[in-house]
Amino acid sequence: MKSLILVKNLTKIYGQPPNETRALDGVSFEIKKGEFVAIIGPSGSGKSTLMHILGCLDHPTSGQYFLESQNVANLDENQLASIRNENIGFVFQFFNLLPRTSALKNVQLPMVYSNTPRAKRQERAIELLEAVGLKDKLKSTPAQLSGGQQQRVAIARALVNNPLIIFADEPTGNLDTKSSYEIMDILKKLNKGGNTIIMITHEPDIAKLSKRVITIRDGKIISDKKNRK
């Protein structure tokens, strides 16, 4: 199968010598379509930096990043914005929904920037909110939803433009155990349906629920293993 993500010798350096920090130090790996990868590591290991570069939110200092065979390491801000819009769905630890805005409107947000017609946006948002089990919460604002429900809205939002990859940054980091497993169930189901998911976590229990675990420490990959079923 063709690789969806191919990174070669990815390096990210913050600051100027001699006070430089190597957040990523020569990272290389490949992710194929349909995988469910957990990137795990302690805080300060470089996993967030890796996620930002993979999510086209940041540029690497050096190295190559091919997303569907396109080298995206040196694209400008506008090009990265449209790649994020069309190919990437984000799920964040703190949900990051727009306050005072209904679930329906929140889910539509990425489609606003892809110039999707209003009627179509509405239809698609309702469809996805139903899929994550929030059919009766369309008009609710984030303040009226529980953490787990908010994260489900965020997942619906991530899916709205049919992205190539879903990036989940500590998706259960702010949830209780029950909600955490509910969210993981949704992610697993999405993966079964063919979605590629890359998840960052520091919880081994959560990482176990994925198919492949990449462990990172001090900016380097120290292990890359498939989970046994």
């Binding site: 939110l57 801000e77 449209s82 990051n96 920037y113 939002r157």
Partner: protein
């Protein structure tokens, strides 16, 4: 993102922070209302003065003492008033058939009193024709006649303000009025004429020229109004008057102006005043703009996370820039429209006291200026928002 979507977004953001938006727009509201109000006062003055001159007819020539120049070298006449009654008589004797009427004016400030009340007023002495020519009528009683003038009768016609202040509820007609301590008889009260640019036109007393001359003891007139038979005969009449005057006066001792020349000079001075008034009010609009800038910066900081999220899901810097810019423009333009309405209401209310008119250009000026303020003062916060790094913005607490 299309422009309608951006508008809807901006509207939602403004609506979500109603109180703050209202306070932000307040600076613009006050600024625009002040501009409209001050310009309406200025141009009310302008149209009143123009109308007064126009009433005299286009066949009028004005002779005033001293060399008056409008424009950069302009200023009040510096020389002594040499327009004497001898000159007036000379003009009367030698006038050509082009000239219909010669009407001298004496105008001074005087104290008018009745019993215990007294008031400083404008005393104007002129000929009877003045009333017909400027379309001023008596509301009660009568204006003075040519016979009154010939006999130098000490009769006076007074304005509304003077009538009210001196005689209270009493009917002034048939009562005595003392002007500069000389007794006169009130024979008429004029129709109300209103207040122009803060000057109360109803605070005046008119007496026949002959009586005025005796009263002031002056041998000079303040101005002479000459009516010609037609507008076409103005140039010949002007030339003739100049010739007569130059025989006894120097070139710098008088100014002759046709109604048209005077009107355009006065209009240009008054429009300068109007624009100056508007300019002063415009300063408050700039202060309002700084308010918008300030609130937008707060709003950008407050919505850092939102901006980060928008960028993460695909907003380009340009999308964020337009979103915040349009928000600023809507705020200032809405403020402009509200200010315009308030200014309009204010000017209508004020028209009970002084004459006001709102010229159309001031409406466009106020709206154009307020949206310009929105753009100018919205750019900096909007640009700042558009440059935010999505990663930093998403982490912002």
């Amino acid at each position: 993102m299309d422009i309608f979507e951006t508008f809807r977004l901006a509207q939602e953001a403004i609506y979500a922070n109603k109180l703050r938006s209202a306070l932000t727009a307040l600076g613009i509201i006050i600024g625009v209302a002040a501009i409209i109000l001050l310009i309406s006062i200025g141009s009310g003055l302008q149209s009143y003065v123009s109308a007064q001159f126009a009433k005299l007819g286009s066949n009028s020539i004005f002779i005033i003492p001293g060399k008056v120049q409008f424009g950069p070298q302009g200023g009040p006449p510096r020389s002594v008033n040499k327009l004497s009654f001898d000159i007036v008589n000379k003009l009367e004797r030698e006038k050509s058939s082009d000239i219909q009427t010669i009407m001298p004016f004496i105008e001074i400030s005087a104290t008018a009193s009745y019993r215990n009340s007294s008031k400083i007023t404008t005393l104007a002495a002129t000929k009877t024709d003045y009333f017909a020519m400027s379309d001023i009528r008596a509301q009660s009683g009568r204006v003075f006649s040519s016979a009154d003038d010939r006999a130098a009768r000490k009769v006076a016609v007074i304005g509304q303000t003077l009538a009210k202040d001196l005689y209270k509820s009493q009917d002034p007609i048939g009562q005595k009025i003392s002007i500069s301590k000389k007794p006169f008889l009130v024979i008429g009260v004029l129709e109300p004429q209103g207040n122009v640019g803060g000057i109360d036109v109803d605070n005046q007393v008119l007496v026949p020229l002959s009586a005025g001359r005796v009263l002031t003891g002056a041998n000079q007139v303040n101005s002479i109004l000459v009516k010609t038979t037609s507008t076409e005969s103005i140039p010949q009449a002007k030339a003739q008057i100049e010739k007569i005057l130059l025989r006894s006066l120097g070139e710098d001792d008088f100014t002759i102006m046709s109604q048209e020349q005077l009107l355009s000079s006065v209009t240009s001075i008054l429009s300068f005043i109007t624009i100056a008034l508007g300019g002063i009010a415009a300063i408050s609009l700039i202060v309002g703009g700084v308010g918008i800038s300030n609130i937008m910066l707060v709003s950008v900081t407050e919505r850092t996370k939102e901006i980060g999220l928008r960028k993460a899901v695909g907003a380009r810097p340009k999308d964020i820039l337009t979103q915040f810019l349009i928000e600023a423009i809507i705020l200032s333009l809405t403020g402009g429209v509200i200010g315009l309405s308030l200014g309009y209401i204010g000017s209508v209310a004020l028209s009970a006291l002084i004459k006001t008119t709102i010229p159309l250009w001031s409406v466009f000026l106020a709206l154009g200026f307020s949206s310009a303020v929105g753009i100018v003062f919205g750019v900096a916060p909007a640009f700042r928002a558009s440059r935010l790094d999505p990663i930093v913005a998403l982490r912002y607490e």
